[in-house]
């Protein structure tokens, strides 16, 4: 019964946060009061970290139980159960329906969401036991008005000859609106990807003069158009997509998880494949694409002065450079790719981004970041 109340309260917390932003900014202190008072000893913390890995991989929250925080432990266990349940129901339904065209999209989303909850609850257990009550950092409560990116990516895909890309982009924000153009330009091949993303932030950090957000949680509606040219390979793609993208600071789920967050996203896309074969009119193939993403991340320091964040994620996309994982066996072709992205600002205006992805290709790189706008 208690667990059910906790789950209901937490879900309500997560899906209905549209309260007054100024009032919300006052609330973190209340959350911290709920954290267990006694500090565990170093050996106990070490034991808790170990327990979060084994048997924590199977029983999420084990680390917090060992740490003496059964409340957080039980919440992580609930999250794991919900994840296993969703993934199990979704996966079994996919199996029984033969991945029918009529039900595959919602069932795949349910399965991915379940996998996300499972992954996040496990990583959160490890994080919560290792990071300590203060956490590793805090989020930005005000978004920069402008953040620009200039970088390099190395893409190793055995099926393509391109390897080196220059990356340009910026994220321009005005109130709840965002505009994010970006470009990947091949340096050693006729390959280029141009993307324009527009977003509307339903809640979360906005640029000044908006009031600071309560925490790093956010929910965005996004639409994007992408044109990817494979000139050397004789085709190009044009993609239109719409998605919901968000983040929940896990402190909302359990105060001991302060400094960590879960990312999520879901949507759909239409893709047009245009083939350039001399002398032939081939028409255009139209494909749909399921967009789904989850991630677990942590804040590092204070990103307004010196800090950032790192996030480990799964992205179900099969159409970008990393595309889907190559597996041998029953799962061939189904999963998307994994990645890790770290953003860090050693000074207020300048920072850097490190990225690595593993799917059908390996993608890694670094970007220089520059931002403008009041952050406090």
């Amino acid at each position: 019964m208690r667990a059910r109340l906790v789950l209901a309260a937490s879900l309500a917390f997560a899906v209905a946060p549209a309260r007054d932003a100024a009032a919300r900014a006052q609330e973190p202190a209340k959350a911290s009061e709920a954290r267990p008072a006694p500090r565990p000893s170093a050996p106990r913390r070490a034991a808790a970290v170990a327990a979060s890995v084994v048997p924590g991989f199977a029983a999420h929250g084990a680390g917090h139980y060992v740490l003496g925080d059964p409340r957080t432990g039980s919440r992580l266990l609930i999250m794991e159960g919900a994840g296993l349940g969703a993934a199990g129901i979704g996966g079994l339904s996919l199996f029984l329906t033969g991945a029918s065209r009529y039900v595959v999209a919602p069932l795949a989303l349910l399965t991915i969401a379940g996998a996300g909850l499972f992954t996040v609850s496990w990583l959160a257990d490890i994080y919560g036991t290792a990071a300590g009550p203060e956490g590793t950092g805090i989020p930005l409560l005000l978004a920069p008005r402008l953040e620009t990116e200039l970088g390099y990516r190395y893409v190793y895909d055995p099926q393509f000859s391109y390897r080196n890309f220059a990356v340009y982009g910026f994220d321009l924000r005005y109130q709840a609106l965002a505009l994010e153009p970006s470009a990947f330009i091949g340096l050693d091949d006729g390959n280029a990807r141009y993307r324009l993303l527009g977003g509307y932030r339903l809640f979360g950090a906005r640029p000044a003069p908006a009031a600071p957000a309560r925490d790093g949680s956010r929910l965005d509606l996004q639409a994007a158009v992408t044109h990817h040219r494979y000139d050397s390979d004789g085709f190009n793609t044009f993609t239109l997509e719409a998605a919901v993208d968000g983040r929940i600071d896990l402190e909302r789920w359990a105060p001991a998880l302060r400094g960590s967050f879960a990312d999520f996203g879901a949507g759909a896309a239409l893709q047009a494949y245009d083939y350039d074969v001399p002398g032939l009119e081939l028409g255009t193939d139209i494909e749909q694409l399921l967009l789904a993403r989850f991630g677990f991340g942590i804040y590092l320091g204070d990103p307004a002065t010196r800090g950032g964040e790192v996030v480990f994620y799964y992205d179900h996309r099969h159409d970008d450079f990393a595309a889907g994982l190559k597996l041998t066996g029953l799962g061939s072709g189904i999963p998307g790719h994994f990645g890790v992205e770290a953003r860090y600002y050693p000074m207020k205006d300048f920072g850097f981004l490190l990225e690595a992805q593993a799917g059908s290709a390996y993608v890694t790189g670094i970007s220089l970041l520059y931002r403008v706008g009041r952050l406090r």
Binding site: G98, Y102, A108, Y156, Y275, Q288, L290, T328, S360
Partner: protein, 367 residues
């Protein structure tokens, strides 16, 4: 473009310990198919179009993957000249002929065996390579003819018999073409069982493998049924079968494909593989792991003027076009079907000729 992938893996690889060349081992195994030593006789099946199932002194057993194949047999100087050649999975009207004057071939009866199994006694000239052709008399003829397509049997092997009866009931079908997933996990006992089921089929089954064949040992399939990537020509029509069982095609096989496409550019050319490059229901993700690779492959096929693409993997029937090439997904062998689509077990019948191309693709419902 070919490079050592895992060896040059960058930091991201450690995320999963993953590897990009998941089909490389199978492509390398393809290169070994059809080569053996039968006692003192060196055996080479040209283009690897048959798996050597047994080779001993004076004995050679082949599982044939194409309607017409060529063998090169080289006995060592002073070695035994006589070889008993048994061929499984051949056209019922196939004949073995020798091109060399001093090599003789005599058909031997194979009592109690299916029509698709034949045996010959071959007398070889020591120290000289003899080339033999195993083909039906109409292998190079023109005119219309017919073949069938069946894929994705998996756990439904117990219900395979009525499909075979339906295929046997149409004497105009020359052979059965497969796009993989004959078994549930590719275990040796499943492959044995499938081979036994084929005894009831009056025509040979030429097939590549599917992702369900990769469960125990990714190359066990090759020991039984031969190459995953291969091509052959019959009655002026080129068939290319590709191993897309890992939702990708190995770069080595792409190199072969480029040659096969160039060779067949002016001929009718049909391409079959298990996992389709693009799933017509894109949100399902039943296609290649990388849609970019899929588009690159389709561009290649279109550039090579391929006339028809045939796929399995999805347990239903879809007729569509990819890169302007007519495409058919047929996964009707009985594996857990796609629900709510009113498509049951089925196979395809394809009418084709070297002169007129593909004239008809018909879905034959079994249930």
């Amino acid at each position: 473009m070919r490079r050592s992938t895992c060896g040059s893996a960058i930091l991201a690889a450690s995320l999963l310990g993953g590897c990009l060349d998941v089909a490389e081992e199978r492509a390398q195994r393809d290169l070994e198919i059809g080569k053996a030593q039968a006692g003192a006789v060196a055996v080479e099946v040209v283009d690897g179009l048959a798996a050597v199932r047994a080779a001993a002194d004076g004995e050679l057993l082949l599982w044939v993957s194409a309607p017409a194949i060529r063998l090169r047999l080289t006995p060592a100087a002073g070695a035994a000249r006589s070889l008993r050649l048994t061929a499984f999975n051949v056209l019922p009207d196939v004949e073995l002929g020798a091109k060399q004057g001093r090599t003789s071939v005599t058909a031997e009866p194979l009592e109690g065996e299916p029509r698709t199994r034949k045996r010959w006694r071959v007398e070889l000239e020591p120290g000289v390579t003899s080339e033999l052709a195993l083909a039906p008399s109409d292998a190079a003829a023109g005119g219309p003819w017919r073949f069938a397509v069946l894929s994705d049997i998996q756990e439904a092997v117990d219900r395979l018999q009525d499909i075979h009866r339906r295929i046997n009931a149409d004497p105009s079908i020359r052979f059965l073409l497969g796009a993989g997933d004959l078994t549930e996990r590719g275990h040796a006992d499943e492959l044995e069982r499938y081979q036994n089921e084929l005894r009831a089929l009056d025509v040979p089954y030429y097939t590549t493998l599917g992702n369900h064949e990769l469960g125990e040992n990714p190359t066990l399939w090759h020991d039984y049924f031969g190459r995953g990537n291969f091509h052959f020509v019959f009655r002026g029509v080129t068939f290319t079968l590709l191993d897309s069982a890992s939702a990708t095609i190995d770069p080595t096989a792409y190199d072969w494909l480029d040659g096969w496409l160039a060779e067949a550019r002016e001929r009718v050319h049909l391409v079959a593989m298990h996992i389709p490059p693009l799933d017509p229901i894109g949100v399902r993700g039943g296609g290649f792991a990388s849609k970019n690779e899929a588009a690159k492959l389709l561009t290649r096929l279109a550039n090579g003027k391929v006339d028809l693409t045939l796929y399995g993997h999805i347990h239903s029937y879809y007729g569509f076009e990819n890169a302007g090439i007519p495409a058919h997904i047929s996964g009707g062998g009985g594996a857990i079907p796609e629900r709510f689509d009113n498509v049951g077990r089925h196979f395809l019948v394809v009418d084709v000729s070297a002169e007129g191309g593909v004239s008809n693709v018909q879905v034959v419902e079994v249930d």
